[in-house]
């Protein structure tokens, strides 16, 4: 359920012209930049009402990295 919500945020933010998969790289595949990663992380946190510590988001590069961080903080 939460994965779908994350994907919804990503599709709204990046559009659907380029397929978004778990292996998609935010910068190389989705044509984003560092601010986009911070932005979508922030949006996901708001949507799922969770908190992801900033230090844990510095190395987020792919959709899977983001999903891992979300999962970690939803479980906790």
């Amino acid at each position: 359920m939460w994965k779908e919500q994350v994907m919804q945020v990503l599709e709204r933010h990046f559009g659907t012209k380029k397929p978004i998969t778990e292996t998609s790289h935010f910068i190389d595949d989705l044509d984003g930049d560092d601010f986009d990663i911070v932005d979508v992380t922030d949006q996901v946190c708001k949507k799922l009402e969770i908190t992801i510590p900033e230090e844990d988001t510095f190395n987020i590069a792919t959709v899977q990295d983001l999903l891992n961080e979300v999962e970690k903080n939803i479980v906790q």
Binding site: E11, R12, H13, F14, G15, T16, K17, H25, I27, D28, D31, D33, D34, F35, D36, V38, D39, T41, D42, E54, E55, T57, F58, A61
Partner: protein, 153 residues
């Protein structure tokens, strides 16, 4: 008769001596002129060097200006980017919500900008810069100078 011949000979000797003196003066003048020409050549060579330096400084300044213009354009684009839904990026809000992340990004941009200045100043490209082919690997401020193998996709 003898007096006339002696007078003529004496006059000839004096004339030749005067000619020799003039010749010596002319030789000295030629040496001075040659020295002057050498000095002028040195001055011209120095001026050519100075001119080349001025052109190099002007080109460096133009490169610097290009980097600053690109940096400014990049910042404007980054700060005002629209997402697919048409929402404008709100850097202010992001800075409040995730200040460390935004600071980290801005610091990274600053490092890129400084590196661009080094490259303009003649610093050779690193292996990492030469091998960068992906957007995530490039110098975002001056990719055309720092990452010759990167092709926009």
């Amino acid at each position: 008769m003898i007096l006339v011949v002696l007078a003529a000979a004496g006059g000839g000797v004096l004339y030749v001596k005067a000619l020799q003196k003039d010749l010596d003066t002319a030789k000295a003048n030629i040496i001075k002129l040659e020295d002057g020409i050498s000095e002028q050549k040195a001055v011209i060579a120095q001026q050519e060097k100075d001119f080349e330096s001025i052109i190099k400084v002007r080109n460096d300044l133009e490169d610097l200006n290009r980097v600053l213009e690109t940096a400014n354009k990049n910042l404007n684009e980054k700060f005002n980017k629209l997402n697919a839904a048409g929402d404008r990026r709100d850097i202010g809000a992001l800075s409040v919500n995730r200040p460390k992340s935004i600071e980290k990004i801005l610091n990274k941009d600053e490092v890129h900008e400084r590196r661009c200045f080094e490259i303009i100043g003649g610093s050779p490209l690193t292996e990492e810069e030469l091998n960068a082919t992906k957007k995530s690997q490039i110098n975002t401020v001056c990719p055309e100078s720092a990452n010759p193998n990167y092709v926009t996709y």
